[in-house]
Subunit: 353 residues, 2 copies
Amino acid sequence: MKMKYIDLKNEDHFKIYGSIALEDEGYRRLLKEDRDKIREFNKDVAYLATNSSGIQARFKTNSAKINIKVVIDSVANMNHMSALGQCGLDLYVYNQSFNEYVFHNSTVYNSKLTEYEYDLGRFETNEDKELILNLPLYMGAKQIEVGIEDDAYLVPNYVRNEERIVIYGTSITQGGCVSRPGMLHTNVISRWMDCEIFNYGFSGSAFCEKELAEAIARVENPDLFIIDAQANAGVDDRLEKNLKLFIETYKVYHPNVPIIIASRIHFAVDLYNKEKIKKRKYYERWLKKVVKDYQQQGENIYFLDGSKVFKKHFTEMTVDGIHPNDLGSMEMAKYYYKKIREVLDTNNKNKEL
Amino acid sequence: MKMKYIDLKNEDHFKIYGSIALEDEGYRRLLKEDRDKIREFNKDVAYLATNSSGIQARFKTNSAKINIKVVIDSVANMNHMSALGQCGLDLYVYNQSFNEYVFHNSTVYNSKLTEYEYDLGRFETNEDKELILNLPLYMGAKQIEVGIEDDAYLVPNYVRNEERIVIYGTSITQGGCVSRPGMLHTNVISRWMDCEIFNYGFSGSAFCEKELAEAIARVENPDLFIIDAQANAGVDDRLEKNLKLFIETYKVYHPNVPIIIASRIHFAVDLYNKEKIKKRKYYERWLKKVVKDYQQQGENIYFLDGSKVFKKHFTEMTVDGIHPNDLGSMEMAKYYYKKIREVLDTNNKNKEL
């Protein structure tokens, strides 16, 4: 069967979620002009914002076979994420009988390459399919084309729920160290809620600078902003120094948007690393107090208690004592989903009153 | 602090579980003489038996720092397992208050190397510790040394439960595609039961040849034998052709050992690949019948229903539509553990009667 290829940026065929920078080259999370500014004080974030974590394409097609051609920025180079987890894509399809998006296939590509083709969709019928293509987590995607059968149609598809969520955080937010992009907790939640989530996780670099709040505030009409930065900004005094200005800066642009502040999840190091335990406890208390103070001023700011996320066998939830594996990521998805739904429902109710 | 290094094969200091081939070079799962024989009809198994999947060292020490020096056979080269998952080691420590072994740390080493050192144990006190070191899953380990503080002691440690389990199977049994060796379901079960498990998972190569039954039968005094080969031998007619002779051959050596025959887990391909679905259904029925026939002859052979292992969101349980991620591996551990306990308890009761 002859295949025809369509660029993923072609709006006649694809709807892309999770990026405000689609007019720049490639699939980036922040605008080039903002990345250039950010580079002056945090070059890691400027780089990491070129990684496509949380960016998804949604489309409908009746093609049985779906190929993709991908050009990524560089060669896979992580030690505790596979090439698939770092640079791969995966495909989900809406399943009527389960009433949810189900995982279909992932790009187990040759990890030495920066350009690859993959027969990602291996359906065997020409039924209509609603699909989500998840982009790489710890790598930038320069160019992506989707190939379908020559006589098939391919049109954009849309989230069923218009709520837009923005999350700012660390390597954990960015998806370290899941096995494929669909396992990133924000991608899981995006499927369950069937809504758009903008992922601003920046590995090792979430220090709550006010310029980041400005760059992230460019996401228009957000319904919820989540700040999950303790694992980075809370290793020293930057969380305490920066958080309030970060929040105030964000609120200049979106004064009424509810905010969830998360304390960090517990993991293996919390059983032995005294320094980390001390810092964690200090900031758990401090974050709770920050939220309480805001609430007493009538602000709709909420606390997500990271210490409650992992329950039984909590040390098993990470790859290296810090970064969630797929087990930990799924536990995060469940807990965060519940809290997000609760806050959004409370706010919707308040709006109606 | 000066460190002293001890070879992991030194029986005065370490007890190694999961290998019958410790007198051969390195850490191998089958004897060299058997691997040489097997090479003539299944060279993949001959190679894969040099991978150290499921092999563990148990020891006690009061050293706060524990370093390891590792020499592996070759460079990490998988696309859907990280270097850590393929070639890394991880360390568990018995935790009194949780009353279980908890994950401590893993070797996030430079994936371009075949020799590396790693500061794996980062305890901060000189308390006595009971430790499990899990060896690489998809790589052979040539040499391993453990470094402890110069004035610390280090002695072998032992399983609390003498039951010995032997499992034969596919890539899934071998640990594809978990994030680190401790997440392999047989290693999880070995911690929960605190017993020895011999892992004979051979990626893509579990075809139930009778010579394999002979090689595996060298494990003395087994309490349970599990056959989990459908995902390989069941892709064509080899399961049907070979299974009964495989079982009969094993029973020549261990006539009274209970056997569990598992049908394969369900995964994403079971939603669309008609050929795979057909084969799966055929062999599910066939395996059930094989077990039933044996039971009617009074044999203690049991069926583990792989279709029941993954429940909600079952497509999320794999990395690539076939191989369990850490989420899927943990679900397997739970389900297999329950079945194993049930069969062993039934057999212990029958022995008492």
